[in-house]
Subunit: 389 residues, 2 copies
């Protein structure tokens, strides 16, 4: 994409010697919008970023893995500012146009010597083809990089959107982080970009069981540099752009879930027929977060009792005798009645698949919501019991 | 305890051939109070019990394990009524004075032939020494029976309280159940017993991560037969009885947590210095329910970042720079600052213990709350992935 450059290097921040410092650089300041964690315990780069993003423009984003710079007090803030300044100097841009982002272990100060050496070095590696290196550098317990590209057409001109993310924890990331960076070449005002990003987020990252809004470092950042010449300035162009952005965010969110710690299966739970939107949200969220549902899916067990009971305790209005439950298109419960051993056998076959869609119809109204989640294996426990050791 | 008899037999309801039918019988109707699950999906015996308990008296309690009689529609209710009638006939008491309770797999009908044969049989086994058999018969994935006895003195007379419970799931029981039965020989009005039971429950079963109020079958039942002649009829006697009941419920709750599925450690999280009672509750609940905290404890890792971050996302008012965090009496974070490697080393030693008290002082006010929970091991996943197979 014209006007964007990327880099990713090993700066010695991670103990395992992998790539751990990433950089996105825009040749000219880009319109910028960001969404951050809602956790009251916020990492230093998030506190700083919330302020800086207010002016709506950004030219460079520095991301490190291996250290979250969270719960590091004033020193943490100072370190984040120092990194911004260092990078601003190296790129010869205003430090106000630099955002920093961190993911990794909480409570340890950034190893500043690594940044002092790494920042001048990473600038040398900037390249329009460097997105893979960048995507690798931001990973923690992810097993592979996550990049998605999409193009669209508005008024006979092509625009592009690229998304790069890291996930990690299945349920709540390792106190660390879901980070996602969107680069696009459309020409859009910062406030419009923010609205599009919020809408896309609501249908993607806010509907996965990473609890996107609660870890300390979560960040979703979008940069639009206008290099395609495609203006997003009316309803028609807005719809096309929004759809493309929705798709990029949804696919990234899906990649994050599929690579959840220890995950072996990817599941969509759709709750329909709810009386209110809130009920649909509550019921789908409760099911997606239930350890008992997750472990049953890992065991390839269509344990409908756990699913309906999770809906029952969710706070949503439910009537057991009205519930229908489907695994893919196979009904297992209709109007509260179990469909018998034959249906259970067919459902058990579906449970062997890697991707499953579970649909719970409450039959009480017209509202729907959806969550993406993964199963829960022994490996999740292993990864998270041993994370700091 | 005078006037109470117990029994527990193998009736063939459980696949593994263990004891699965239990009975408590009071020689005369006892004052009775009960608390049931708040899940909107309620098991048949809970629906029935909620009605029956309204009159405040009960003479016999029949409990089966192996089948929860939940999500079984009208047939489930009919079966529960049939069991009550059968037992009433065998004991020659009014069926209105019989309560039934079930725990086990959801969605399957009760094997009524086993009950038709088992009920006349179990009546023959009633004995004042039968509490161990009863306690065994109500277990599901518990690894041992849970009984606690306590005596107290009021106006120079001795009274007794006995509690028998079953737990199971660590976080949310297997769609099945926390069941607890309290037998006492005090003389108390049903409405007073209900108040005492609610108060005791609030400090015990409602503060463990079994999510006592959300599974489909949860039941806490108290029976008071007055056989000690100790009247609970004024403030002084009420306080003594309440304290004894609190202690019995707390110890039972503790036993349930310690025997949580796959649990290797028992933890108390105390949140103090909260601005409001609700904040103290929210923060302690969020920590006790966090999979990341639970897995870290399993890994003997004093991962304070996960604990403080759980408080941060709980919705409670918190200020990171004011937080103190202790493991037993060892401070690890003071005023938001990590106390360094020496403190971490000492804390790591404490983490090797089987029982740990974690104290988070928010330093914002005077309110306190407490949760009991256990760690989260690979074994939890194994038990719950394979539960129905």
């Amino acid at each position: 994409m014209k006007g964007f450059k990327f880099a990713g290097i090993c700066a010695g921040i991670k103990k395992n010697g992998g790539k751990d410092l990433g950089l996105i650089y825009c040749e000219k300041p880009a319109a910028a919008a960001a969404l951050f964690t809602r956790n009251k315990v916020m990492a230093a780069p998030v506190l700083l970023g919330k302020e800086k993003i207010k002016k709506g423009f950004c030219q460079a984003v520095l991301v490190n893995s291996g250290n979250a710079n969270c719960f590091t007090g004033k020193k943490g803030i100072d370190d984040a500012i120092t990194c911004s300044k260092l990078l601003g100097d190296c790129l010869d841009i205003d430090e106000d146009l630099v955002l920093v982002s961190s993911t990794g272990v909480i409570g340890a100060n950034l190893p500043m010597d690594k940044f002092e050496a790494g920042i001048p070095e990473i600038v040398k590696h900037l390249s329009s083809e460097g997105m893979d290196d960048f995507a690798d550098a931001i990973l923690t317990t992810d097993t592979h990089r996550k990049i998605i590209k999409k193009t669209g057409e508005i008024r006979n001109k092509i625009f592009s959107i690229m998304g790069i993310a890291k996930g990690s924890g299945m349920i709540r990331p390792n106190m660390a982080t879901m980070l996602a960076f969107i680069c696009t070449d459309v020409d859009i005002l910062p406030q419009d970009l923010k609205m599009c990003l919020s809408a896309a987020n609501e249908k993607s990252f806010n509907r996965i069981t990473i609890d996107g809004d609660t870890s300390t470092n979560d960040t979703l950042l979008a940069l639009a540099n206008g290099s395609s010449g495609v203006k997003i300035n009316d309803t028609d162009s807005n719809i096309v752009f929004q759809n493309a952005l929705d798709e990029v965010c949804f696919q990234l969110a899906k990649m994050v879930v599929k690579d959840g710690e220890g995950a072996t299966k990817f599941v969509q739970i759709i709750v329909k027929g709810a009386e209110t939107k809130e009920d649909a949200f509550k019921a789908s969220e409760a099911i997606a977060h239930s350890n008992l549902v997750k472990t049953a899916i890992y065991g390839e067990d269509p344990n409908w009792g756990r699913i309906t009971a999770a809906a029952g305790r969710s706070g949503a209005q439910v009537v057991p005798e009205k519930m229908d439950l489907f695994f893919d298109h196979q009904p297992l419960v209709l109007k509260g009645n179990w469909m018998g051993p034959e249906a259970e056998k067919k459902t058990a076959q579906i449970m062997k698949k890697n991707e499953i869609i579970i649909t719970l119809d409450l039959n009480l109204g017209k509202e729907t919501d959806r969550f993406l989640f993964c199963d829960f294996s022994e490996n999740y426990v292993k990864i998270n019991a041993e994370y700091r050791s």
